[in-house]
């Protein structure tokens, strides 16, 4: 049994610089939860299937369980806690509430992060495109119908002129 080796990492999470000593095997998801104290990013599987851990790394949607924290060294990471100012909700979050697109809420942060990544790439997704874009996110509660509705509505709200 070799001694456990720690590596220094530094990244910007939701605009705040986080520095820590981590093991090579520590996933970014664990880093966010344990070192950054941001428990909105969830771990639902250990094979990168469920997408509950989806975050944005340098602006791109990624499953944070597939990335080691050391690989994200120097990156800017946005988690669910960072998509809207504290006390406010992003239009996508509002759409999820309005359309009852969550039940237990465990997959929800990953769903929102994937939805925002989709809208970044495709501001006017069709229902079919939304369903395809969610291929990496599993929800066990909702049957996805309301999630698809909410993402379409959230995308519409994001296209609406400011102030509306």
């Amino acid at each position: 049994m070799s001694a456990r080796v720690l590596h220094p990492v530094e990244m910007t999470v939701n605009g705040v610089t986080i520095r820590a000593q981590v093991e090579t095997r520590q996933a970014l998801a664990e880093f966010l939860r344990a070192n950054a104290g941001l428990t909105g990013t969830h771990i639902g599987c250990d094979t990168s299937q469920c997408g509950a851990c989806t975050v944005h790394v340098d602006g791109v949607g990624l499953k944070s369980c597939t990335l080691f924290a050391v690989q994200a060294n120097g990156a800017a990471v946005t988690t669910i806690e960072g998509v809207a100012p504290q006390g406010a909700m992003h239009p996508m979050q509002q759409a999820f509430q309005e359309h009852h697109a969550l039940q237990c809420g465990f997959c929800t942060p990953g769903m929102i992060m994937s939805a925002l990544d989709l809208v970044r790439r495709n501001p006017e997704p069709t229902d079919d495109e939304i369903r395809q874009a969610l291929e990496g996110n599993i929800c066990r509660c909702t049957g996805y119908y309301n999630i698809v509705k909410a993402i379409a509505a959230g995308a519409r709200a994001m296209r609406a002129p400011a102030g509306k």
């Binding site: 049994m1 456990r4 093991e23 095997r25 939860r33 941001l38 428990t39 909105g40 990013t41 969830h42 771990i43 639902g44 599987c45 250990d46 094979t47 299937q49 469920c50 509950a52 988690t79 669910i80 806690e81 809207a84 909700m89 979050q93 999820f96 509430q97 309005e98 009852h100 969550l102 039940q103 237990c104 809420g105 465990f106 997959c107 929800t108 942060p109 929102i112 939304i130 369903r131 395809q132 969610l134 291929e135 996110n137 599993i138 929800c139 066990r140 509660c141 909702t142 049957g143 996805y144 119908y145 309301n146 999630i147 698809v148």
Partner: protein
Amino acid sequence: MNYIGKPLARREDVRFLTGRGNFVDDVKLANTAWIAFLRSPHAHARIRGIDSTAAAGMPGVLRVLTAADWKAAGLGELTCVHPMPFSDGRPMNEVLRPCFAADRVNHVGDVVAAVVAEDRYGALDALDAIEVDYEVLPAVSITARALDAGVPVVHERFQSNLVNEVVRGNKAAADAAFAAAAHVTELTVSSNRLAGNALEPRAYLADYNRATGQSTLWATTQMPHLLRRWICRYTLFMPENKLRVIAPDVGGGFGVKGHYAVEVATVVWAAKLLGRPVKWTCTRSELMMSDAQARDHYTRAKMAFSKTGEILAMQVETLASFGAYCSNFGPSIPGNSYPQTITGLYLTPHLHLRVRGVYTHTVPIDAYRGSGRPEATLVNERLMENGAREMGIDVVEIRRRNLIPHERFPYKTPVGRIYDSANPPLMLEKLVALSNYARLRTEQARRRKAGELVGIGLAAFLDKSGTGPSATLATKGGLHGGYESAIVRAHSDGKVTVFSGSHSHGQGHDTAFCQVAADRLGLPLEDISLVQGDTDSVPFGNGTWGSRSLSVGGIAIYKAADRVIDKAKIIAAHMLECAAPDLEYAQGQFTVAGTNRGVTFCQVAEAAHHGANCPTGPDFEPGLEATVFYDPPDTNDPSAMHLTLVSIDPTTWRVQVEAYYTLDDCGLVVNPLIVEGQVHGGLAQGIGQAMMEKVSYDADSGQLLTGTFMDYAMPRAADMPPLESDFICTLAPSNPLGVKGGSETGTIGPPAAIGNAIVDALWHLGVRHVDPPYTPHAVWKAVAGK
């Protein structure tokens, strides 16, 4: 106020949407140690020895635990709180799931040892250093083979794998009906084994305070009080007032988080041993070999029809897997839920049913959303449609001839269950209209002519919910209650906290329960908050299972709220110097009838808490709250019907569910948004069972083949068909709101409805049955006659 019936957006959503939920793994305590479990890699083996010396000496390792430590401490095992004896009265051949396997492992995933270490990585590293000397033994993992001569026996003391034998109905009457039948349809049907797979894996965090002797457990549980009772009474032998169980936000349960899980007592015990917090969070691959699994029936059944298609009788012979041990609610599913719902919504006059529970070297079986009804409906509805096709009767028409008429409710079935309320004929006609059945058939004929394989299938079925009352539950084997608790507590400012013994892990109690409370209290919803999931603040509750939250837990709140208003009225009458019956109450205001004199609920609450301006006399107590333990007088019976259109690719044999229609009757709907969400979510799980999900074990070695989400297919967004849903409402007669369970029907219908549609599409090719999941391989095998 009128909140009941409104599709209000959920109040609990904001914390989940913003990443501020509080799940067990999110709870952090200083100085927490981690525990990890070593599990059997074999389905069946003798443990010759365990050498944990190297592991115990690794840096950061605090403790290694095995069956020997458990035994030395004199601790107990898990428990079965719903045993089902043989129908002749003999007790079932019960073997409880052990916290640590002692000399033999009986399924892949059986716990062999545990390591507590300073952190998770240290604990996991140490697991690798434990040497277990196994003598691998032959295993049986296939339910259909469990009672065959010469198969390996899971528990040798019983000399066979038989757990119990439940017989229902009247064999002589059924035999006579079959002898006189114009037509008999016969099938062999398997219900695939499932994993519940709530998205949040189970997790436990236990703390122990040496100064007070108090343990606290944060747990992913649907029933914190029952979990506390089981740990204290059956396993760790400690007083219940020394263990506080907190179920914070729980990420889905579906029944599986209701079971007494194998790891939880060990986590509590380890915290006590070390005098510091100990945490365990399951991984998905661990969960796939540890969380109780579901379904897994093998059934031969037949249905007797008259010349005109009326069902005369049904005979059912089922082997139901229990897995390697009796899990805590496990026996009740094939023993109660299954026989009670197998004749569904039909007038079937005679039934003879025998279910034999069997052990196999697999993960134990227990309740998972649907619990027995999907297995029953698959058998009943596959027989129904095969019978119709064999007799040349349209599948809707044959149902019209067999459905229980509305006026026959309450209806007593041949197994003795009394269905409380339903209107099956109305539901069928609404489903026919919703789906435009005649047009679907015309379109099907057109596409068939063009060479396409297109089928239409239905499923009509009964759900059952609100299991109770407690005394009746006990006659069916239940060692737990069927009641629910509530406190409605008005504070001195007139704001209200509701405490419920029920627990929400996605069901939306904070909204729906408070809608009920707000209406009964005549107060704005925002004045009411809900507390649940804490044994130190909530009275003993039976938790959430069997679609009982609203019809039992909600009614407890309803009654407690009414009692609060009754008491408030007495105080208000004192304040207004009138008689209580002269008072009218609405929207937070007590008014002397016919006058403009009144006091508000807030003023009454203020007086009740001051205690000074209150009625005098020995019968009056200050304060303004009520505690209710509500034991429902009866169960309630939701019902539903599904219709689906499928097409099948003749090259790949892939089934495409093109359209899905549902009709539900769950009585009065308190929050339509939430109830529709329950229909959707149930449907995803039902379509999962129908189309893709199956826990598979290697037939020879018993090795688990579906160990992760890579191998166990879960429905994703693109797998869900276009859906149209509608509701009818027949009120449940046993509760004042008329509500019924509304969350499980989606899981019940799809294996039957889609299976029927596939057989309809392939009938002309000679296909008479396909077992779920309806994968291309399964359909191809059926067509090829393999």
